[in-house]
Each structure stands twice: as structure tokens, then as C-alpha cells.
Symmetry: C4
Subunit: 375 residues, 4 copies
């Protein structure tokens, strides 16, 4: 089995990072994470590898030729597996097995960029980067043409790459005209610095506006949206994005399928004690998990145990398979910190086939949080 | 006489190929040939030069200045010949004598890229490459922007060229939006990596859609379609492509004028024992030639012998001249494996002048397979 | 506090200039200043650094990390200050604190381009250049495509930069078609040589025409206009440009907030004896200041003293704050010759908050020169 | 006085040419000159500098700073002269004094490209090149995208330049679609290889089609047409091109103001014995001059002598001034072989002011060949 690895800038960059993260990636609250920008705006800053800096090393690519430490993986999902692909939205870009893994460095070899090129396998990976803005030091930047272009130049220089496959604009910016954003994205694509562009954490109306501006000025529309999606965060992904997919072909790449660590198979039923929760700067995460909502969610997770056992899988595998069930979802980003986690998560692919409409209905009934759709 | 040589990537690339091919080039069945992609997707793969790998070395260019081993050719078709040119579709690109030769390496000197540039004669050749997809290892690629661009970059790197004249998209891809394909082709042209783009084995409706999308978004439409055309494969070329030519100017470059070796002048009437037929991997070709249809076609070929004798030419020459008779055909790709074959095939140019409407009618009557046209 | 420094070409270029300027920058009369072009058209000319040559060295960037000699500045406007940003027109480009300083070299360290890049802080500065034409030696140039492109190439070479943030077309050219100008500006932006383009000293109708042509041909419209604006030059900025801002998003960068030295806090009430006034070539400036109009204006300046004292600021600070009060003004260019002047001028930011509608009315009443607007 | 020198490729290229030409430049008959292409298509060919090869060295630029051997010129047309400029059509490109000189190498220093750049004076010259096609060896090329792009690349390589100011398409090509031509020209401009494009020897309807296609696809329209124009060749320039200028802004650069040597001031009245006439390969020119038409024209030239004497100038100066009288003419290409000829021709600028409507009428009456215009 071949697995496309979404190599975000953070993956490729900070292989020598000292503090290993093992929890969720996104910054909470939807606000401008204070630490996010430090590694972007100030690469020379000493605090760049701090807890919230998103510096996540990535595992060695797991393609047939490049895999070295994944004998077990081969076993569980070997060449014999009938491989399926989904397109990124209605674009022609395909992602293997609907899973893009963002692997953490725990016993897994690092992604060696040089080697990748030596083997001429660039085409087998999808490498993305994000244009961040909104942090303390970057308040003045926004999604201006200047920041999009310079931000991407900076990423490429740090990555030592000539181009990325997808450049994402992280969070929409009401103070930058949409025409300027779409023109800048089209510019970097026409310059060959990126092949596609996407949005991250944008509202449906904003994505529609970007598409509309692209049509008005014959520019390149966005290919996909990165959105949070898991058992307890369903609204946007189930009510808004399918419409975008069907109407304008914008697909979704979802992240956090395990609800920032709330859904975990490590302890199958015990209140999770995420390792991030023990790090001071991840206090927010700990707080979230231990909040009223967090505790209720953990009860729900336990309610899913019987279904998981029925399917012979873990709750985490069930949850990931559940995310993959919609055709509008191009890819689910996994975040794992070691080989076992990666292999466990990949097991969700086998579960997907067993996820009958009946089972999905059962889960809906258990969760009781199905969003109202217009249809 | 000056002959434009269509230097496909395979021609230029594998001069040191060990297994010499002397049969037809296209992969049968219209499906995704298993071996086709190996030489593209995995240049380091040992099997890249396998039988179906399309690795065909090309003869030294035969232009007046560059010819070194073709004294006989000069004799048969020297400078005195009234040279005719056809445009590639309704584009301004002209091809000398309507023949683009894809010469195999049998006693013919190799095409020396370095020398070509030293002599500043790049403008005398038409160099093309193809974006393949659909092979086992490339199922996930399709005609995505990523694959078109990276595929062409890969070709240029292997060819050690800065650009090709025409880049072909081999087989249409229903899973990639036409807008993405045409935008990617326009991108590589605007980047100076190719001068024109064409399609290969596309349906008429798909070509029309590409044209229409190009018009809608002010992108560059395709210049030509590469299609199989010979005495026993007439439908698409005679019923669909002329309409495309007249309506939107898309011309045709045809291949396999000798029906994958069924039409041969080597044995004038005997069941052909193509050398490819003796190679194990070309069993399909042997099977095809020896099938019921193949045997019927060989009978037809024998029926053409009297006409060929009347015109003082071989059946192969007659067949090639017959392909050249339509104005909608920009060029006929020859596939030869040695100097004699090349010179024999080029003799078709003299036959063309003798191919009166009366003779064409006679051939139609003998073949009995004239397709029904809408007109 | 972080201060964006507008590094015009002149700033970066002539750090070793011998004659220090301490007065206004613009060339008077609106005509083609005879000296302006000498430094542009003839970089090797010995007279390039003459008095009118706009060769103004710039201070070391004052951002938190880079400041070295501005302890006092930190004190008066430190990190605690609530930082505000304005966008450049309705574009996404933001300028810190609405002030772009053009600092002269008096005790302030020089802007070290190399260091800037070493620190990876290019994104913190806004670097602009201007395409001049109309000088004696450049009469034949105009705003032709040739001159815009070659002019910018020349600037970038002199600056040793790959691109500028904004390229300004200085003065409109009735003899060059607007389509050619906008196409050339779009070309340099698409080539990555500039991120935005703007106009300088253009009429509102001309800016509107540029916008309209950009819309007609799907080119990039101008982002902002550079215009003179101060207590005694209010018409264009208060009657014409706001409409442009609201209708087509073109913002204004204003210069000469101290009326070419007429408004000065050095002598608070005395007739100013600008240092430029003592240089022979600035005789025109001296003449202007000592003209009837100039003398009347200096009387008005003295009338403002009570208001300034009321607000606990200097007349210069009051005048700059007054310029900043309109939302249509993206940035005010300061021109200072030493640290004290820079710090005094930056103090205007504190005054701005105190500039109540009541105070603005008082000033209007004192000046008696409020232009008639259509609204 | 500063004189813009139109440095055609031929000027810059063949400084070491052995055979000096002193006659007209264009190839007669409007056909495809057999020798024209040899220097283009085959730069290594030994015959590249043959008589018809258009290899004309150019004089050292005569701008104020660069002039070294033109003391006399300075005298006759020094800085004091009121300099006038005309735009190239309605484009913004200006040409000094309406004369673009193509100087031959007779006692005049060569144009030293390296020096030009060292002095940073590229912006003072207008350097053009032409895409030729139609010669024997280039029949297959036409104005295809391939030939336009490769032709220009070839020119730039030979010129050792990064770009030219204007690239001309020499003769229209009915077999290349206008869309392809205009797209290719827009491509080379967008690539920065040329700043403008023009036509040469095109019909008015063809130019209008190019303009129309440019408008249809939002491409760049041609800026000017190069056309033959002199006392005995008036039709196209006086009836067709003014309409193009007024309607679509396409200007005219005219060549051969002295009717291929028929009008000469060397012998003021004697049958000209052009030096080209003594070279075998210029037999056609000799034939033309000595034909019935040629003899009649020489009689007319003698009829103009009284008017020339009245104005205190030579017939050649009068003829050049007469060419310059129309505002639709952007520039007149001079072809001179030595300093005296250049200076004499430049004297036409003084004559122009004296060319009253009355005098123009007198000339019309003498010539008796005023073409009928539609107006």
C-alpha cells in the first residue's frame, strides 16, 4: 500500500526539534494563536520551536520503495489491498487512500527531503504549506499580496523547495480585498511556486466569494478547504461544505479526526491524559478535555465502544472511518506521534468498508448531534 | 529533401537501450498498458526499457546539412523534389512532407542532441513529448495539474531540453476537470516549456470540450490530436476528426499507418512474422496478427498488391500514401527500424501524387470498410 | 512600538551623500524639476547627489528587534502602546501607525540593506520606488512601457533588490495611452518586480481612468496615490481623493505634512530659517517661505500655537496628527533629519487621540481654508 | 542634439562584415529574398554576410555623452536646437527628432554594445529585430508560434541582448492563424523578450485583423507598421495607414526615404551611380534605377532641384523632410554609409520647419502622383 504523506512545512522543517508533541495540532479558540506566528515571522527567534509552534517532524515516506520501518504496516495493508483514490475536491489531484498523514517523530524515521528528490519521487507526495497571519507579531500583515507572496517565498526557502503542491491561506481576512487575495494566489501559481491553493478555516460564504472573484477576473479558484471535523464538530462539514463541493467543486481536507485527543484508543474508556496535557503551554488543551463539554464527550466516546468492538476495531479507528464516509471529503489529516499510532489509524481504512448505513445511523443516534441541513 | 523528425521523448532518451524494437509502438487495447508507465513513473526502475516501454531511439536528422549516412536517401528524394508542407491543423506550425519519422535504431546513426544545438538547427525539428497516466503505478495521477506539470518537467530533465514543441496529453481523464487540464497546458506554454499542446487518443467530444473551455477562460486550445489511422482503422479519423479540423482547426497526427505491422512490404503477401512477434512480451501483437481479424486483414493486404504493382510501389508505400491523402491530416508518424525501411516509407511521397480519386475508390471498394459519415 | 519605514530608492541609495538635507522633499512648481532626473537618468553623473536630487539617507529600522539608538523613542512610544494599522487604500497592505518615515541621517544609524535580509525582516518594511519622467534629459521618455520597465529595472539594480513593494508612476503622461501604462505596471507586477503600483501627483480623473482601463482589460488597478497634503494644501486631498477611496478603493499616501518647512516646531513662532534655505539651490524654497503667501501661512501657524499648547504638543505634532485624522489617508510620509525630529514627529500619534471633532473645527475656523466638497 | 539610433539586429551583429553596403536596405520585389534568410536561418553559413544579407554595421551612438567623432554634427544640430519628439503610433514610446538612423560604417565608429551597457544608456536607444520567413530555406516556418519565439531567441542570442524594444513580424503569413501570431507576440512581450511588437510590410486589413484579434482575446496589439515611403511610393502610406493610426493607434515607421538610391544628393541631377550598383549582386538595384520608371523618377528628382535650392537644401534633405511632414509617421529610417551622409540627412530636420503647405502643394503638383484617398 502506498500512502501519500502530506508534508506540511512544519513537518519538513523542524526535524531537530527538541520538544516532541504528541497531541492535537490546531490552536484553540479560533483566534490568533500567540505562538503560531513566532516560528513563521521570526525564524531566527529562539522560541520558534516552542510548544505551540506547530513544529512537527514527519515520518519517512511510507511508499513501497521508501518504507523501511513499517514491516507491520505492509502486513496490515499491503500491496494486495484494493487501493482507492479520491480527488481533491473536483480537481484532478488525487490522494491515496483518503488519508494524509502528518506523523510525529516517535521512533519513526524522518522525512529526508534530499532523498526524496534523489529518488525522483516528488510526484508521489503532496507537500503543502500555509500562509499564517493574525499572530501578535503579524497583526499588520493580513492576507495582503505582500504577505501571501513573501510568506510563501519564506516557506519555500525554509523548506528548500522550489514549489509546494498546495498553499493554504489560514483564516480569511476581512481587511484584505478578496480580489487581492485571489490575484496573489493566482500569481504564485502562475509563477510556479504552488500548484493549487486552498483555504483553511474559512466560512462557506468567504470561499464562495473567492470562487466568484476568480470567475469574475478569470483567476484560479481555490481547490479545497481545510476544516476541523470529528464526532463532536460536525456542523460546518456536514451542512455547509457539501454544498460548496457540489456547486463549485471545492473539496475538503479535514483535520483533528480524534477531536484534539478527546477520542483516543490508548485508554479505551479512561479519561485521556494526553501527553500534551502535561505540558504547561497546553494547559488550554487540558482545560478543554476536562471541561464540562469535554467530560460529556468522553462519555459519548465510551458509548461508542460497543460498536467499535462489534466491528473489531478501536474507537479511534471507528472515528476516523466515520470521517471518511462522505464523498465531499477529499482527505483526512492524521496526526500521530509514533509508528503504532500511524498503523492503528491506517487501520480505519479497513473499517470504512464495514461502516454500513445502519452503523452510521446507530452512531448518529448515540451522538445525538446531527446538524440540521437545508436539504 | 529535408525531413522533419518527430523526436519523441523515447527517441531521444534511450539511445543506449538494449532491446531493439521493430514493431508497432502503441499499446493495445486502449487500456492502461502496464509497462508504459514504468519508464515514466520510475526512471530508475530496471524494467524501464522493457518491450512496451516505447523506448525508441531515433535516426540522425536527415536534413541537408546533417545527413551523414543517407546517400541513398538523397538520391531517391533529393533537393530537386518539390517540397510540400502541411500545417499542424490550422496552426502555423508546418511539417515537412507530411511525414514525421520515428526511426528505430538499426544501422541508423543516433540523434545527437548536443550536435543539434551546436548547429543551431533546433528550429528544423519538431520535438514532442507525452504526459502518460493510467499505468499501474500511476493510477493516482490522472491529468491533474500536478501530474501535467511534473510530468513535463520530468520529460524535459530526462531529455536535457528547455522545452518541447508539442506536449501531448495521452488519453483523456474523466476524473480531472477539463478546466484544470487546459489551465495546466496553458501554464506550461506560458512558462515556455512547450510551444503547443495536443491530445492523444481523445474522443472528438472531449477535444471539443477542451477547445470550448479554452475559449471560455481565454486559454490556449489544443493544436492537434494523435490518432491511430490505417487501412483497417478508419472510423474516428474519417468521420469525427475532419469536423474538428474544419470547425475549430484541430489537426491530426496519425500513427500506425502500417496497422501495427499487419501491412508490411517485407514479405509482400506472406503472413508477417514481425520480429516483435518473437519477443515474449509482444505476444499480444502476435496474437492480434494471428487472430481471425488479423488473418482477414492480411488477405485484404494481398488484394492491394495489384494496385501497388500498377503504381510501381510496395503495399506499405501505398498504405502510407493512402493515409496522407486527406488534408485534415497534418502528419503521419512513421515507425521504422532501419535505413531501408525509412527510405521505403519515404517513397510514399512519390506515390501520393499518383493516388488519383479513381485509385482511392478502387481501394475503398477492395477494403469495403468505408465508415458512414454524417455528411 | 514598531514603525514601518518607507524606504524610497533615494533613502537606500545615497547613504554616503555629502550634503545633508533637512527640508522638504518635493520639487516645487509641479513642473519637471531640473535636478530630479539627474540622479535617475544618469547614475554615473557627478551631480547626482546635488541638493534637489532627493538623495535622502534613511535611519536604521526602528522595529523592536532592530532599534539600537532609539532608547528615548522606546520610552515615548514603547511596546505598551496600542498599535493601530491602516490599510493602503482598500488593499490588504497595512502600514504601521499610519506613519511612513523618511528619515535623514543625523545621528541615526543607516539602513543596512544586507542586514535587513540577513535578519529575514524584509516583510516588516515597505520599500517603494518611483518612475520619474519629465526632466530635461528625459523629455523623450514619458510613461512608455519602455521607460516604466527600464526605469524599474534601473531602480532595482541600484537598490540591489529583487523587487519593491510599491512602484509609483510620478506624474501622469497625457502622451502615453493609459492602456500602455496599466499594462506595463501589470507586467512588472506579474514579473514579480513589484507587489503593488501607485500613482503620484495624478489627477482624480486620471486615476479613475487607470482604474477603468484595468477593469476593461482585466489588469491590476493602482493601489494608492501619493499627494501633497498639509494645513495649507487641502483641496485635492479633501475633495477628490476621498471619493476615489470610497468608490474604487484607491488610498492616499500623503507627503509634506509640514508644508515644506513652513510648519516647524524648531522655532515655534519665529519665521523659519530652514537649513535648506541657506543652500543656494534651495533658493526657491527660501523664496516660497518668504513670499506673501509664505508669510501669511507662518502667521496662521502662530495662530495654532494656543491649540498645540492646550494639547501639550508642538505645532508640528498637531499638524501631522491633523493630517492623520482622515480614514482615506493610508499613510503620512514624514521627512526628518535627525532622531529628535523623528521622535517629535512620531509624538503626533499620541496627539491624534486627543484631536476631537471640536478641536478639528477650531483649526478649520482658524485656517479658514476648508475646501468646498460636493457632498 | 541627441539622436535615437534604431539598432536593428543587422546593425549590431555584423560589425566585422567585409563587404560594405552603401545602398538601400530592403529586398526588392516584395518577394522572399533568397539571401535574406541565409543570415537568419543558418548563422554558421559562410554566405551570411553576402550582399543581400542586410548586415549593416551601425555608427557609434550620437547622444551628447557618447559622441566622439561628430564635432561637425554638434555644430549643425547642437544642444540649442529645439528638440521634438514623436510617439510611436499612439503608444508611449518616443523617438527623438523623428529620425531613426541606420548608419553604415564609413569612417564612423562602431556601435559598441558593451559600452552602451556600461554607460547605462540602454534606455536612450531603440533596438529592434525582425522575424523573417519566406526565404528558400525557411518556407516551412511561416509566422508560427514556434518560429516567432525561436526566431526571437536566435536574434537575442546573436545580439547578446536580453530583450529588444520592438520585434517586427516581417510580411504577414496567410497560413498562420492571426490568433497564433498575436498570442506568440504577446508571449514574447510577457516573457520580457520584447517591449512592443510591430508589423512590417503588412496590408492594412491584416494589421486591423491583428488588432481585432488582440482585442478579442485581451492580447497586446501591434504598435506600428514598417512601410516603404518616399516620393515615388505613396499609396499605402498616404491612403491606408493614416486610417489605422487614427482608428487604432498603429503608427508607421517608414524606410527608404530616398527611394532605394534614386533620390541622391551626391550628384544632384546626374543619373546616380550607387556603389551598390557596382556590386554584382545588386544588379537588381542597378536595373531598377536604369529602368524606364527609374529614369522617369530621376527626371522628377531634377524637377525638385529648384525647390530644394529655394529652401537652401539638397534634394535628399527635401525628400526626407517631405516624408516627415505627416503626423501619422512616427519615424523615418535613414540609411547612410558615412558621417557626411548622416549629417546631411539629419539636416532634413531644419528643412521640415520650412516645408509650408504651399511648398508641399508645389511638390505634389510636380510629382503628379498624389494617391486618391477616401476622405
Amino acid at each position: 500500500m502506498q500512502v501519500s504523506i502530506a508534508c506540511t512545512e512544519q513537518n519538513l522543517r523542524s526535524r531537530s526539534s527538541e520538544d516532541r508533541l504528541c497531541g492535537p495540532r490546531p490552536v484553540p479558540g479560533g483566534g490568533s494563536g500567540s505562538g503560531v506566528t513566532s516560528s513563521h515571522g521570526n525564524p531566527s527567534g529562539g522560541g520558534g520551536n516552542g510548544p505551540k509552534a506547530r513544529t512537527v517532524p514527519v515520518a519517512r515516506p511510507l511508499g513501497p520503495a521508501a518504507v523501511t520501518h513499517s514491516g507491520a504496516l505492509r502486513e496490515s495493508a499491503g500491496r494486495g489491498t484494493s487501493m482507492k483514490y479520491r480527488n481533491l475536491g473536483k480537481s484532478g489531484l488525487r490522494t491515496a487512500e483518503n488519508l494524509m498523514t502528518v506523523a510525529y517523530e516517535h521512533g519513526v524515521n524522518l522525512f529526508d527531503t534530499a532523498e526524496v528528490y534523489a529518488a525522483g519521487k516528488r510526484s508521489s507526495y503532496i507537500i503543502t504549506t500555509k500562509i499564517f497571519w493574525g499572530g501578535q507579531a503579524e497583526t499588520e500583515k493580513g492576507l495582503s499580496r505582500k504577505h501571501i507572496i513573501e510568506g510563501l517565498w519564506g516557506s519555500l526557502e525554509r523548506l528548500q523547495l522550489g514549489y509546494v503542491d498546495i498553499v493554504f491561506a489560514n483564516r480569511s481576512d476581512p481587511n484584505s480585498p478578496m480580489e487581492e487575495i485571489v490575484r496573489a494566489m493566482t500569481f504564485v501559481i502562475n509563477q510556479g511556486l504552488a500548484l493549487y491553493w486552498g483555504t483553511s478555516r474559512w466560512g462557506a460564504a468567504e470561499i464562495m466569494e473567492a470562487y466568484s472573484v476568480a470567475r469574475q477576473f478569470n483567476l484560479i479558484p481555490p481547490a479545497c478547504e481545510q476544516a476541523e471535523y470529528h464526532l463532536f464538530q460536525r456542523d460546518k462539514m456536514e451542512t455547509q461544505l457539501p454544498e460548496l463541493y457540489h456547486k463549485i467543486g471545492v473539496g475538503s481536507v479535514t483535520w483533528s479526526p480524534l477531536a484534539c485527543g478527546v477520542i483516543t484508543s490508548k485508554n479505551e474508556g479512561r479519561i485521556p491524559e494526553t501527553c500534551r496535557g502535561t505540558i504547561k503551554s497546553y494547559q488550554w488543551l487540558k482545560d478543554k478535555v476536562q471541561s464540562e463539554d469535554g467530560k460529556k464527550q468522553q462519555v459519548k466516546v465510551m458509548d461508542l465502544l460497543p460498536i467499535a468492538h462489534q466491528l473489531g476495531c478501536t474507537v479511534a479507528q471507528l472515528s476516523i472511518a466515520w470521517c471518511l464516509r462522505s464523498e465531499a471529503i477529499s482527505s483526512v489529516l492524521l496526526e500521530v506521534s509514533n509508528t503504532e499510532q500511524l498503523m492503528e489509524n491506517l487501520g480505519a481504512l479497513q473499517v470504512l468498508a464495514q461502516l454500513t448505513p445502519q452503523k452510521v445511523l446507530e452512531i448518529h443516534w448515540l451522538l445525538g448531534n446531527k446538524p440540521h441541513t437545508k436539504k
